[in-house]
């Protein structure tokens, strides 16, 4: 309370006595007004002849541009208010960006005073701390309002209120809007994010509004708690997870947030739903019907033991290895190089045997980052060959090992993260000497130009330290990204494994991890990352924990009041099958293989090379090298894909085949009921309900044999195109 009073007094001290500091007092005005945004003067080429550094990253250059460029014509020393710097954004002179600053506003006043004082940039202050309040607030209901505040410290000075110069940005303006009065108005229930930017610092703020009013059964204490919005009370007490199994930790954290948001959890999925889901997620296949029957019948032990046995069996299957080889090959952007298949063959072979043998991903990562030699023999030496040059190499390192988009820092400091241009080009410099021909080796020469300085970039571990210009620093990259205290690689990888199992990452998108893009369940992600590292980076260990959690086993059927939830795991999300998985599943159900390249491959998941000709997979939207394949989950839904499923041979020829499952059954004289049952079991991994069975019998049971065949084909076709089949749920 005393703190609040003090804080309030501080607010009264509006403008300081000392001279205005350009770096920390003028630049924020420009940023707040949007002058140095990427779409305006912050663009690489500037606008209207004025170039400012993006979001004020380079105050020295900005001061030069404002006070000195064009013989200082932007500043009117005699009549500060008539300076171009003010006349333009206040609308007195024609300005492409329009009117951005009120002539009487504190920002304009501050600029005037700065010009009166000489428009100088002397001994700039440095921002030493930036804090926002509330960092996490819980509100009782909507609509609700919260006052946003920001304080900053410069050098060793006292905290100053910088709310007026901080940009508060709502991550989802349909949920939260922020007015000029720095009040956030919340229009939707749920957990919402605001980013607060001041100078080069960006801090996240989280606002939570429970989905439902506290029910009568809850105590008054809970209600009071819910009404409080100050930061201190909504910081949550950490949970002790030390003695728990991964699945217990997952369930505890997920349930805690669901409780906080008062989102009800759907009941558990049935055994068959769970089995289909986990088999598809771990092996990219539908469960074999004999498996289904066995799983339903065996009564050896509890449900928990049954599921453990099943998960272990799936994790040790060949199908698991095939499927995860494909998945990791996509993350590594593996592809064949022109006129050279051997490199990819060695690379994919290495990946496959690593996954098969359970090599820890720390060891895999070390090899990817440091391997040299003949890339036709040494698989991981191909990692850098997937990138055209050192910068692309650095970006691939960022994407795969860190789950981060370093590319932003090529042309300007990353606007939402800590990475600078020096970091980006410094990391690229580490790979600059790598020869990317068949023989991968370090040559004596090679550098990249730092676009900021125009000089050869100094090799650098991003965010940490410069390295000597000579020497091989790839091992240092490994230690920084994989085994270092930041746990970058473990966090990025468990987030991807989680996403593969749930259809949503704890952080989305999975290649955009940064402090300003917080996880829905931050403590859980940290725990899982640490646990992954502790267990020698074994993906089977991480996947097993997820697969055995109650969270994973929840039904996909939403309840009345949890339907809109798509990030808190109150119910399972329905996800379209990957094109490769879909094609293989169609082949398995119809009993006719789909082959690729004149029979080179008889399963789609085996087609590792995205450049291997496979028009069916292209039409269905397989990931190609050009796209970052993690970004979207909308697949199979394009017009060409639908037409392909409707009219092409992919399904039609298999249905018509004499050697296919359907015609073999018809020829064997099976009853319609038997056929319906069999396809339900194969395609949907469940038995038809009584109602379904009788409806289909009525529809399909006709005396004309040809007509019966046609109707049965149409039945199977529609089953294969139904959401129940084409989605994992």
């Amino acid at each position: 309370m005393i703190g609040l009073v003090w804080f309030g007094l501080m607010l009264l001290a509006a403008e300081p006595e000392r001279p205005i500091d350009f770096d920390t007092e003028i630049v924020p005005v420009l940023t707040r007004s949007g002058c140095n945004a990427g779409a305006c003067h912050g663009a690489a080429a500037g606008r209207g002849g004025l170039h400012l550094s993006l979001l004020g990253a380079d105050p020295a250059a900005d001061h030069e541009a404002i006070a000195h460029a064009f013989e200082g014509r932007r500043i009117n020393w005699v009549h500060p208010r008539k300076s171009l710097l003010l006349r333009k954004p206040t609308g007195h002179l024609d300005h492409g960006g329009g009117m951005l600053l009120d002539a009487d506003s504190p920002g304009a006043e501050r600029i005037v005073r700065w010009i009166q004082e000489g428009a100088l940039r002397t001994s700039p202050r440095r921002l030493s701390a930036f804090e926002v309040s509330p960092r996490r607030a819980r509100l009782a209901t909507i609509p609700a309002e919260v006052t946003l505040e920001a304080t900053a410290r410069f050098d060793e000075g006292r905290p100053e209120d910088v709310t007026a110069w901080t940009i508060f940005q709502s991550a989802d303006p349909s949920a939260v809007t922020i007015g000029d009065d720095h009040r956030a108005r919340i229009h939707r229930r749920g957990q919402h994010l605001i980013l607060a930017r001041f100078l080069h610092r960006v801090e996240p703020m989280v606002l939570v509004v429970p989905w439902a009013a506290p029910d009568a059964a809850r105590s008054d204490a809970a209600r009071t708690d819910a009404a409080r919005t100050d930061a201190a009370t909504s910081e949550r007490v950490p949970v002790d997870d030390s003695d728990s199994s991964p699945e217990e930790v997952i369930d505890r954290h997920v349930m805690r947030l669901l409780d906080e948001l008062r989102i009800p959890a759907s009941p558990p999925a049935t055994d068959t739903e769970w089995l289909r889901r986990v088999t598809l997620d771990l092996t990219g296949r539908l469960p074999d019907p004999t498996f289904v029957a066995l799983f339903l019948q065996t009564d050896g032990g509890s449900r928990r033991e049954k599921r453990e046995r099943m998960v272990d069996r799936l994790l040790s299957s060949d199908a698991f290895v095939d499927f995860w080889t494909l998945r990791f090959s996509r993350l590594l952007q593996m592809h064949s190089l022109p006129n050279e298949q051997q490199g990819l063959a060695a690379y994919a072979g290495w990946l496959r045997s690593g996954i098969s043998g359970g090599t820890g991903w720390d060891e895999m990562a070390r090899q990817l980052l440091t391997a040299t030699g003949d890339s036709h023999v040494i698989g991981p030496a191909n990692f850098g060959r997937m990138a055209a040059d050192p910068r692309a190499h650095a970006e691939l390192v960022g994407r795969f090992f860190l789950g981060m988009r370093l590319g932003c820092a090529n042309c300007h400091n990353h606007p939402l993260d800590k990475w600078t241009q020096d970091d980006y080009h410094g990391l690229a410099a580490i790979f600059a000497r790598l020869e990317r021909g068949r023989i991968v080796e370090l040559s004596a020469r090679g550098s990249v130009t730092n676009l900021r300085t125009g000089e050869p970039a100094v090799p650098r571990i991003p965010g940490l330290r410069d390295l000597p210009a000579d020497g091989d620093h790839r091992e240092a990259v490994f230690q920084w990204a994989v085994t270092g205290p930041n746990n970058y690689f473990a966090r990025a990888t468990v987030n991807r494994l989680w996403r593969a199992m749930f259809g949503r990452g704890l952080i989305e998108p999975p290649d955009d991890l940064r402090d300003t893009n917080p996880a829905t369940h931050p403590e859980l992600l940290e725990w899982l990352a640490a646990d992954f590292a502790k267990h020698r980076f074994q993906i089977r260990h991480a996947l097993r924990g997820i697969a055995l959690s109650d969270t994973y086993a929840r039904s996909a059927t939403p309840l009345d009041n949890n339907g809109p939830d798509d990030q808190f795991y109150s119910h399972a999300l329905r996800r379209p099958l990957d094109p490769e998985v879909l094609v293989d599943a169609i082949a398995d159900v119809t009993g006719v293989a789909e082959t690729f390249g004149d029979g080179v491959y008889s399963r789609a998941v085996a087609v590792i090379d995205p450049l291997f000709p496979a028009p069916t997979l292209d039409t269905l939207g397989r990931c190609n090298r050009a796209a970052a394949c993690e970004e979207t989950l909308v697949r199979n839904a394009t017009l060409p894909a639908r037409l392909h499923l409707l009219n092409s041979a992919l399904i039609n020829a298999k249905l018509a085949s004499d050697l296919g499952r359907l015609h073999l059954r018809i020829a064997a004289g099976c009853t319609t009921e038997e056929i319906v049952n069999e396809f339900y079991l194969h395609g949907l991994s469940r038995r038809a309900t009584v109602d379904e069975r009788s409806a289909w019998l009525e529809e399909l049971e006709v005396t004309d044999r040809d007509e019966r065949r046609r109707r049965l084909e149409d039945f199977v076709w529609s089953l294969l195109n139904s959401r129940q089949f084409a989605e994992n749920h």
Binding site: A39, C40, A43, A45, G46, R47, G48, G49, D94, H95, G96, G97, R391, E395, R405, G407, C408, N410, P509, D512, T557, P558, D560, G563, T619, A626, A627, E631, T632, V634, R635, A637, T638, L639, P640, A641, R642, L643, H644, L646, N647, S648, A649, N652, A653, A656, E692, A695, E699, R710, R711, D714, F715, W717, S718, L719, N721, S722, R723, Q724
Partner: protein, 449 residues
């Protein structure tokens, strides 16, 4: 050093807004410009007709993949030294003072419709990069895939028509949806429209399947998905992409749009017997039926050797040239003539363009290599004033000497002609705002006299 072509945005916007869509002279502002387009699209001829100018309804892009030689097509240099001027002579066109290659006699007869650009210039001389630049107006970036013209058009013209909004004949090169996503990817016909058995990929029913069975399949599918929707208590039974596919596959009108056999022989012959010409004819059928963007991909223009063989003859010993240029000539001229005859030319913007030009000096193999510093393109219809040449290259076709036009400038012009506000902000997948065109300079002479 600033890029000389990236004009400061504020200034450009301000000035362009005075003339946007070339409506200015008549005092029509930006807001009017946008409204006007919608009025036109609404099918009622209003202000636009009186102005004699309105946004083009459709666009046909003839993409000459590989980089056509400007020196053998639209920008000949008969006065240049032998090693520059190449094997072909210029001929006069129907418009006094405009000459083009002798390999383009039919195009020459349409010169009153043509705006020939001879001063395109770009720094990118590699196919992939240049392809991207010319088809998007943005230099390729490693962090963002920009959408091509067709994708932006498809994104902006959301209607409920049967036919796809962005069709590529036969297969897309670069020039996909970029960050706008899969819903505006081009619909590729596949196949070769000049073949008697030409069929659009996956549009025809599989043998043994008829309309009744398709209907039954849809009914069965609906019953599967309705059961699912009931469980979820959601009311979204029909999947929009499914419904589109079903309607397209079962609609006689939609299918006939792709059926060239419905064209009289006299028309088919005019376009020439080869794939390019028949693709142009297909493009005309599609825009006639409301498809807003069709690209025809014509490959083979990467002529590093044998200009006479590749550009003129087509095969060695050919009596009548069936090479790239005569084939283009027939199809392109027929397309313009046909569109004009049907009253479609004013509302259909036709662009013939490749990713760069060819080196001024012939190489030792009698070919020319990549040359982006200056090259040519031609536009017609869609409100583009014909009978003019825009810009010029120097005496040897090496550099622009007059009115250099970057692909970025061209993009702003194309979007403006198509009635799409070039400053409109699109959103990337992660919410970044990216304008339709950034920093391009409107080429006025392509819009107004």
């Amino acid at each position: 050093m600033r890029n000389p072509y990236s004009k400061p945005r504020g200034a450009v916007t301000r000035r362009d807004s005075l003339r946007i869509g070339c409506l200015t002279a008549l005092g029509v502002g930006v807001a009017d410009f946008l409204r006007l387009r919608s009025v036109r699209l609404g099918g009622q001829a209003m202000a636009g007709e009186h102005l004699g100018r309105s946004a083009a309804r459709s666009c046909i892009l003839l993409w000459l993949d590989g980089g056509p030689s400007h020196l053998e097509t639209l920008d000949l240099k008969p006065e240049a030294p032998l090693e520059v001027r190449g094997p072909f002579q210029p001929i006069a066109t129907q418009v006094a003072g405009i000459q083009i290659s002798e390999l383009l006699p039919e195009t020459a007869k349409q010169a009153d419709k043509l705006a020939i650009i001879r001063s395109l210039t770009s720094p990118l001389g590699e196919h992939g990069l240049a392809n991207n630049y010319l088809l998007t107006g943005y230099k390729p970036s490693p962090v963002l895939q920009y959408p091509s013209y067709g994708a932006v058009v498809a994104h902006q013209r959301r209607d409920d028509g049967l036919l796809p909004r962005y069709v590529t004949i036969p297969e897309p090169r670069t020039g996909g949806a970029g960050f706008l996503g899969s819903t505006v990817e081009p619909f590729a016909t596949g196949g070769d429209p000049s073949k008697p058995d030409f069929r659009v990929r996956d549009l025809d029913w599989f043998p043994g399947i008829d309309a009744a069975r398709l209907r039954r399949r849809r009914d069965y599918l609906r019953s599967f998905d309705a059961a699912q929707a009931a469980v979820e208590s959601s009311d979204s039974v029909g999947d929009p992409a499914w419904e589109r596919a079903y309607r397209l596959a079962t609609s006689r009108e939609a299918k006939s749009a792709f059926d060239l056999s419905q064209e009289p022989d006299s028309v088919r012959v005019r376009y020439g017997p080869r794939m390019f010409g028949q693709s142009c004819l297909l493009a005309r059928r599609l825009v006639e039926r409301g498809v807003p963007f069709v690209s025809v991909i014509n490959t083979g223009w990467d002529t590093h050797e044998g200009l006479v063989l590749q550009l003129k003859q087509g095969y060695s010993g050919a009596k009548v040239g069936v090479g790239l240029v005569p084939t283009f000539d027939l199809g392109f001229a027929a397309l313009l003539e046909d569109l004009a005859l049907r009253g479609l030319l004013d509302e259909t913007l036709v662009i013939a363009l490749g990713e760069f030009g060819r080196t001024p000096k012939l190489n030792v193999r009698g070919g020319r290599d990549h040359w982006p510093r200056v090259f040519s393109a031609v536009m017609a219809g869609g409100g583009v004033p014909g009978g003019q040449v825009i810009g010029a290259s120097d005496q040897v076709g090496e550099s622009p000497v007059d009115e250099p036009i970057s692909p970025n400038d061209l993009a702003r012009t194309i979007y403006t002609l198509l009635g799409i506000d070039p400053d409109l902000e699109l959103r990337t997948g992660d919410g970044r705002p990216v304008p339709v065109n950034q920093g391009g300079k409107l080429v006025r002479s392509l819009c107004s006299r």
